[in-house]
Amino acid sequence: MSLVIRSAHLESDQELLVDTLIRHLNPLYDNVRFNWLYKNNPHGLARAWIMSDTASSTVVGMAGAFPRRVYIGVQEATCWVLGDFCIHEHYRLLGPALQLQRACLADMHPETVAFSYDFPSASMLAVYKRLHIDPLGNICRFAKPLRIDRKVEELVRVPPLVSLMKWVGNLALAFQDRSLCDTGELTIALHEGWCGEEFSVLARDVGWQYGVCVQRSAEYLNWRYVANPLLRCEILTARRHGVLVAYSVFAQSGEDAMVMDLFGVQDRQIISTLVESLIKFLRKRCVITLSAPLFESHPWMALFQRLGFRARETSPVMIYTPPGASLESSSLQGMDWFFMYGDRDS
C-alpha cells in the first residue's frame, strides 16, 4: 500500500470527487450539491484533497474544507468548516484517515485561515484523539414536543382511544404554551424570496457581539439556506417598526422541524417572541417535534429551556488552529461560540 495525497482542482477533479463521495459517503450526492457547496459559497471556494493508493491505482478517499467568514469578537477572519471526509471501505483504519486529515490541516495557512472546526462522527473522533486535538465542547440537540400524536400511536393500541388521547394530549401541550406569543410591537412574518440588504445590516450591527460567530450576510444566507439544494429552508422574521431585528431559519422534514439558525439583536424578549411564534406556526402545521441544536456556550440556551425545550443527544465540536495563527486554540476556547445546526458543512 502506497498512499499519496494531493490537493484537488475543483474543475478538473469534479467528476472524480463526486464519484468518490457517491461511492464512499452518500449515494445521493451529485453535481448539483457539489457546485453549490464547493463553488458557489460567497465566503470563498472550497478546498478538497484526494488520497490514492498508487500500488492499486485506487482512490482511497477525500476530504473537503469549506470557508466561513467569521467574527471573532470585533475581529474578522476566515475559517474552515471541515467535511465530506470519506475513506474507501477497504482502507478504513486509522492510518489512511490520519494521513488525510494531517494533509488537510497542514494546508491551513495562518495568514488566510484562522482556525478550522468540525462536527466529527465517532470514527472521526478517533482520528482527532490520535492527533491529540481535544473537543472544544459539545453541541446539544434541544427538542420540544409540539404534538403528542406519535407517542399516543406508539403506546395506545385501541383505535377509538387513539383519536381521543391525541386530542386531549395536543390540547394540553398547546395549553402549556398559552402564555406564549404576545408579539407586542413586533411584526412576525414568513419571509419570501431572497434575503436583502437588511440581513447584511443586521449581521454587521450585531454579529461581533456574539463571540465567535459566522457572518450572516444576505449573500451567505441566500447561498446557505435559500438556494440550498439539499434542504428546503424557510425564514421567519421579526421586525420592529419595519426594521429587521431577528430571524429564525428552519427546515421541516415530514412531521419534524429543525431550527437551523436563529439570529438577531441581543434582546431576550425579541428572541423569545420569535421562537414562541415559530412554535405556534409549526404547531399549526402539525409538526410533532421541534429541535434546536445549540453549542454549549450559546447565549440563548436558557431561553430555549424556559420555552420547554429539553436537552437530548450531544455531539462534539472540534477546533484546530494552525501553527503561527494569531489566535491560539486556548484563546478561542475561552470565547463564546454562536454555533447552531446551520454552521455545519452542508
Binding site: L93, L94, A126
Partner: protein
C-alpha cells in the same frame, strides 16, 4: 518476547475491553473489523494499549488494515516492530 505471549496479551486485552469478542468467542484468526469487534475508536484503544504495553510508538503508516485484521496479524505486527526497535 515470545509470539504466544504477545498474542495472549493482545487477546486478553481485546476480550476484556470488547464484550462482543467474548460473546462471539473469537479466535486468533478471526477478522476483527469485518466481524464488528473493533471500530475506529476500538482500534484507537488497541493502538494505545500496544504503545503502552510494548513500549513502541506507532506512526500513521503502521495503522493499516493488514496490521489490525486479527489477533494473529496484530501480534505479528507487534513482533516485527519490537524486533525492529531492538535491532536499532
Amino acid at each position: 518476547m515470545q509470539d504466544n505471549t504477545v498474542s495472549t496479551h493482545i487477546k486478553d486485552f481485546i476480550w476484556q475491553h470488547f464484550p462482543l469478542a467474548r460473546t462471539r468467542k473469537i479466535v486468533d484468526t478471526d477478522h476483527l473489523l469485518e466481524k464488528g469487534i473493533l471500530d475506529s475508536l476500538g482500534i484507537l484503544e488497541v493502538v494505545m494499549f500496544i504503545e503502552h504495553e510494548f513500549q513502541i510508538i506507532l506512526n500513521d503508516d503502521d495503522l493499516m488494515p493488514e496490521n489490525f485484521q486479527s489477533i494473529c496479524s496484530i501480534a505479528a505486527f507487534v513482533q516485527r516492530r519490537c524486533h525492529d526497535s531492538s535491532a536499532h
